[in-house]
Every structure is written in C-alpha cells, then in structure tokens.
C-alpha cells in the first residue's frame, strides 16, 4: 500500500515527423489523426492502460497544443488516477540554469529524472508515441525479469529493404543482444528496434548521467546510450514481438497504415473489446448512408453524410460526400466536405478541406507510389484537377 510503483512509462511525443509535410506543421507526429477517429499516440497510451501501467509521463516539445488538449488528465485512457496518472512533461527552465530544449531521446528522459524519482519505480518503460501497434508490455516486463536484463528492447522483423531506417540488432542464441546498429547504411540483419525499452531504474539513471557527461554525445538512446551500454557489457536482451507494427514516417506510409485497417487479417483488430484503443470521443449523430449511396470495404464514422460511392477508404468523423462523387483508396479526415460528381483516388484529404463539385483528385503514380495530400482547410473550387501520372 506504499507509493512506490513497480513500473512507469515515459512516452516520447516530441517528434516533428519532418517527412510528413503539411500534416505535421501544426502538431507533433504522435498527434496525427489515424484510423477514422484516433490519434497515433492513442495506441501507446492504450497499450499502457491495457498493460496495467497507471503512471505515464508524456514528453513533448514540438507543437504540443493539440496533444495537450487531447491528453488532458488522461480520462479517455483511464489515466486520471489519484496516484500517478498521466503528466505532460514539456521542457522548462530550471533554477539557476539557461533553458534547454530536449536534445535527443535520452536527453528528454535525463531532464525529467526528477519525475521518475517522484514515483521511485523498479522499472522504466520508454516508449515512442509515433507507432501504431497493440502490445502487452506486461509480457515484456515478465521477460525482462526472467532474463535479469539491464535493458530489454522490443524487436520486430522488418522487410530487408526497410532495415536501414531502423536500429538493427544481432542476438545470440539466448536472445542477448551482441550488436546494435542505428540506421545502418548496409544492414546485416532485419531485426529492428521498435523503440520500446524496459530499463531497471538505477541502470537507466546511471547511463543517462554518463551519457550526459560524454562530450559529443547526441544524447539519443539508439545512437549513444545503447551502444555505450553494450560496450560496457550490460545485459541487453531482445524481446521478439509478432503482430502489426508500423512506424508512420511518410505520407505514403500513413496512407498505407490507414488502408491496412480494411483488411480483416491485418493483425490490428480495433473491434477487440479486450484490448481497446481509447481516444477522445466526438459528439456527433450516427452517420447516414443515403438512398443511392454505396459504401464497401471502408470505415466510416459518426457525423458522416454519404450520398456518393465510397470504396476501400477511411472516412473520419463528420465527412460529407456529395451525390455522384466517387471515393476510392483514400483517407478523408475530419469534417471534410466533398461536393457532387467529384472523383478522389489515392489521396489524403486533411481536416476541414472543402472540395468543390466535379473536382478530380487522382494519383496514378504507383512505383514509387505517390499519394496526393490536400492540405487542412484548403478550399478547392469546382472542376479543379490534381493529378499525378506515372512518369
């Protein structure tokens, strides 16, 4: 009945998501809308709740207003707790110091050691708010304890051609990590770090301190802290994860991740009542499928009014689709209004955009695939055409 926690989570939510263009001009990547009604960070937060974690620090620094308003005191994730719950940790000025922004991922945690100390946990789970997946961290903690590890890193097999985007590891037969390469140009393996770490609290603090004192360190877990720990012979284990996991880095992969939800075997069942993904719920009437409308292999949300034809698409809350309009292979975000007889294919239409009658938005470039992004609040007059064709 004491106040010590077994574990707490530190969720890194400061990412800019530079390759996402306009989408992240007013919000951090973890705040990006996804899957008809979620924001990406909902997955990590819901995983925490469902794994039995009741104390989460969310580290923000880039465009946090939407994230702050979304998270509040954590009510949707049941994280409004008497002891613990969710805390937003933005950079701040300290007594007698110059203000410092968070430099790397490790530095962000380093600057908030006082927060960790407040709860004095045995273990610290470090997460990224950028990823879409469902994972029971309590099983990983069990693994961490069984292996008597100093650090456990969740890993997933990625396609070889994408391996250079990730931290790649090599393990021995026991699962102990022998080598770690952050974003290697020529990857020797395809076992990628998911950016999910469990540390013993003392060892975490010790290495954050050491890393902070090393001149020239980028203060990043992947680039600096983990290699240092490996060098010094720490017991670092790889916890293999199977299932859906996506690091949404580009507009194309955001589009792809949304459309992944339409396949019934995607491994990310959002209908599972035993592992719900929580979010802030909107207050809108049920959506309406008009006489003459058609909707197939798609997601739709409350507040939508659909008079046209929708296939293989994801419609967020409050989308209006006019008569005669055809939507295919697209992601239409909150409160977008699309007029009559328009055609939209392979596109993401961002929040509150207005697309006039008879518009044509269509990407035919598939290799490399390209997705058209229509910017938030954009007003597209009647008969506009946005089109890309294969070169």
């Amino acid at each position: 009945m004491g106040t010590t926690k077994e574990w707490i989570a530190m969720l890194l939510a400061g990412g800019e998501g530079k390759r996402l263009g306009f989408l992240t001009s007013e919000m951090a990547k973890p705040a990006l809308p996804f899957g008809g009604k979620y924001r990406i960070i909902d997955f990590a937060l819901s995983n925490c709740t469902n794994s039995g974690i009741d104390t989460v620090g969310v580290l923000t620094q880039y465009q946090p207003l939407i994230l702050n308003a979304h998270i509040g005191i954590g009510i949707p994730w049941d994280l409004d707790r008497k002891h613990g719950g969710v805390s937003i940790l933005a950079p701040f000025l300290k007594y007698g110091e110059e203000g410092k922004w968070y430099r790397g991922t490790a530095n962000a945690i380093y600057q908030n050691i006082c927060f960790i100390d407040k709860y004095d946990p045995h273990y610290v789970l470090v997460l990224s708010g950028d990823h879409i997946y469902k994972m029971d961290y309590s099983l990983m903690l069990k693994f961490h304890k069984e292996k008597q590890a100093d650090l456990t890193i969740a890993v997933i097999e990625v396609p070889w051609n994408e391996a250079s985007r990730f931290g790649i590891m090599h393990t021995d037969s026991e699962g102990r990590i022998t080598e770690f390469q952050e974003k290697p140009a020529h990857p020797q393996g395809n076992l990628a770090s998911m950016g999910v770490y469990i540390f013993g609290t003392e060892i975490l603090k010790q290495y954050l301190q050491a890393d902070n004192e090393r001149a020239g360190s980028g203060n990043d877990f992947g680039k600096d802290v983990i290699p240092l720990m490996l060098d010094e012979g720490c017991r670092i284990f790889a916890y293999p994860f199977q299932g859906y996991w996506k690091d949404v880095g580009t507009i194309e992969s955001l589009w792809e991740a949304n459309l992944d939800l339409l396949s019934s075997e995607n491994g990310l069942d959002l209908f599972d009542r035993n592992w719900r993904i929580y979010t802030v719920n909107q207050n809108q009437p049920p959506h309406f499928i008009a006489p003459g409308a058609k909707i197939e292999n798609s997601l739709a949300n409350e507040g939508c009014e659909i008079f046209g034809e929708v296939s293989n698409s994801v419609l967020f809350t409050g989308v209006h689709i006019g008569e005669g309009t055809v939507i295919k292979d697209s992601v239409i975000m909150t409160n977008v209004r699309i007029g009559r007889n328009a055609r939209i294919e392979r596109a993401i239409i961002d929040e509150n955009a207005i697309i006039g009658d008879e518009c044509l938005i269509c990407s035919e470039r598939k290799d490399p695939p390209e997705i058209i992004l229509v910017r938030e609040n954009m007003i597209l007059p009647e008969n506009s055409v946005i089109r890309t064709t294969s070169p």
Binding site: G35, G36, K37, P76, L261, L262, S264, L270, F271, R276, I277, Y278, T279, N281, Q282, N283, P285, P286, H287, F288, I289, A290, P291, G292, A293, K294, I295, E296, N297, S298, L299, A300, N301, E302, E305, V314, L315
Partner: protein, 372 residues
C-alpha cells in the same frame, strides 16, 4: 440563465411503451442510434445556459443514472449547481399507485429552498426536440405570467399530446381558453407538457396542494385553476415528438432518415449531447449493401441494411437483411437472417436464417438480450 432551474420530471409510462421500458424508465429509452430520450431536453436546457437541472425519477432509473453520470457530457459536472438526480424516498412511494408529481416535488422541498434560481422550467423526459429556452424565459418574464405553458401549432400527430388539450390565445399569447375536456375547443394549438413558473410560485403551489390534497401539477393546479391564473403560451418550433407509444417511437426514429429533420434536430439551435462511448469506426465489408440508413460507430456490416437505424456495435453478418428496422446496441443479426419492421432492444441475437418480420403499422419489438 444562471437564475433558471431545469426540472426533468420522469413519469412512469411503462404501459405505453412496453418491452423497451421493462428494464428502464422512459427517459433512458435509446433513440436515434446513440441517444437516450432525456438527451434532447437536457441539451436544450444546457445549450440555453441553464446551469442547474434536477431530474426527478421514480423507478428503474439505474440505466438513467449510468447514462447521466455526473452530467459531464452536458457540462453539468459543476461545483455549484450542475446536475442532481433525485430518486424517490422509497417510503413515500410504498403505495401501489403513483400519488402525483407534486408529492415528488414536496419530498425535495429542502432542495428547492436551497436553490438560488428564480424561475423553473419543467419538462417530461420523453420529448424529442431541440429548443432555445432563452427566448421562452424572456417571453415568460416579459409577460408577467404565473405560468407559461408550451404549445404546438398545427399538431401533426395526436400521440404527441397525451393530454389532448387545445388552447386559445390572445394576440399577445395570453391563454384565453384551455380545454377542460378534450375535444371541446376548435383550433390547432395543442398543449405541450412544458411549463415555466417562478420558483416562488412552484413552492407556494406545492405547499397549498399538500394541504388540499392536489396531486398533479397540470391536472389539479394549472387546469383546475386556469381561470384564476395568469397563463401565457409559448410555441414549440422545429421538430417535435413526444414518445408515448411504440408507434410514435418507431416513426420518430424513421423521421431521422430525412436529412432536413436530422440537421434541424441534432444541430439547431445547439448540438444534442449524449454520453460518448469507446467504439471504433463502423466497418463496411466488401459486398455490404447499405442505403437510406443511420449507423452509429462500432458496427460491422457484411449484409444488407435499408431504411434502418443501427445503434453502436451492431453486427450484420453476410447475407443478413435488415429493412425498416431499429437495431439497438450490440445486437447481432447472423448470416441470412431477415429483420423487417422490427425494433430490437440491446444485445438481441437473431440467429442464422431466422426471420423477424413486423408490420409497418405495428413493428415487432424484441426485448433486451433475447436470442431468437
């Protein structure tokens, strides 16, 4: 509107809308895909700036309590004022028949006395409407009326007006005549069960009624004393239904398939709030076939849905066919089952191949958690 108190007076109406009220009171009957009946008057009150609402309940109010919670969905979770659910004192109601709303109010006299509001607006819990009550309060105050009653011009459906009382008003809407017996007055203005009066007038009325044995605020006070009282009438505009029968319930739901009614009812003058739930997007499978229907979130549709209203989390399996029906939360229509002109309460299962077919004028009603 800080000085106006809302009172939602949930009467016992189990007999008029059976099955759906077997386990809940009328105010918490589900409606329109994700709402409960009480949401409409409650949202009207709070959108109009009312900051204190008392809900008088009589029985079967557990689902109502769950739904209302602390009133957060209506911004009524306030430190002062806010939402009050006032259940009966069981010993006052140990008689088998309901002694009238005045006795309900009387049992909460200290609640009224401790309230700072000047006027009260009293409504039943079964109205489907979206009202700007600020205008009504302004009208009441300007008129200097003892009581302002609401009425509907061009009453469309008789079932909306259980008292069936017509009224006649002067040019400035003072009530000149109010039918003692239904059917005696010409005209098309019919009384709606919403009243505005000062708290002082209400308290005096309660005290007097307890002394002289009057039990019902409308019947024994407003109607009986209509010639002594200064009564004004205020017109209800926009969509309006009072859910007093299964037929009316069915028809009012189907009215929502009309986009104009829907836009008006759900958004004008303010949004209708309800308790939100965690449901994913609704998923339409390849081969699904849906038209002229309203669907809440969390549904999984593989079959056909026409002219129907589906609440949250309904599953429609491959080959299932739903037409002209209302399917409540988490019901499941299995493969090749057929449902027409039916109202399915929560968590009903219609098994593979089974047919549930009602008539347009008499939809079949299936109770909560039934497996067919």
């Amino acid at each position: 509107m800080k000085d106006v108190m809302g009172i939602v007076n949930v009467r016992i109406q189990d007999d008029i809308i059976r099955v759906l009220t077997d386990f809940r009171c009328i105010a918490s009957v589900p409606f329109g895909g994700r709402y409960r009946l009480i949401d409409f008057i409650l949202s009207s009150m709070t959108n109009s700036g009312v900051q204190k609402v008392a809900v008088f309940t009589l029985h079967k109010y557990r689902s109502l309590m769950d739904h209302l919670g602390t009133g957060k969905s209506w911004d009524l979770n306030r430190k002062e004022d806010g939402l009050y659910i006032l259940p009966p004192n069981v010993f006052y109601y140990s008689q088998t028949s309901y002694p009238g709303d005045i006795r309900s109010f009387y049992s909460q006299m200290d609640f009224f006395e401790h309230s700072k509001q000047k006027d009260v607006i009293i409504s039943p819990g079964n109205l489907v409407c979206n009202l700007d009550l600020r205008e009504a309060i302004a009208f009441h105050r300007k008129s200097g009326a003892d009581v302002t009653v609401f009425y509907r011009e061009d009453a469309e459906y008789e079932p909306d007006f259980p008292w069936k009382r017509k009224l006649k008003v002067s040019r400035n809407n003072r009530v000149l005549e109010l039918e003692e017996e239904p059917g005696t007055l010409e005209g098309n203005k019919v009384l709606v069960e919403i009243f505005i009066m000062s708290k002082l007038f209400l308290l005096e009325t309660i005290e007097n009624s307890i002394l002289n044995g009057a039990g019902d605020l409308f019947q024994d006070v407003i109607l009986k004393d209509r010639d002594k009282l200064n009564i004004y009438a205020y017109p209800v505009r926009g969509y309006f239904a009072a859910i007093n029968s299964i037929k009316r319930f069915y028809r009012a739901n189907m009215d929502l398939l009309n986009p104009a009614i829907r836009q008006n009812l759900f958004f004008q003058p303010g949004p209708i709030y309800t308790k939100v739930k965690d449901e994913p997007s609704t998923k339409y499978a390849t081969g699904s076939n849906v038209f002229n229907s309203l669907l809440a979130n969390g549904c999984l549709v593989e079959g056909t849905v026409e002219n129907s209203i589906l609440f949250r989390g309904v599953k429609v399996k491959k080959g299932a066919f739903i037409k002209d029906s209302i399917i409540m939360q988490k019901s499941e229509i299995e493969e090749d089952a057929r449902v027409e002109y039916a109202i399915l309460d929560k968590e009903v299962t219609v098994s593979r191949g089974k047919e549930i077919i009602g008539r347009e004028n008499g939809p079949v009603v299936i109770g909560k958690r039934k497996k067919l």
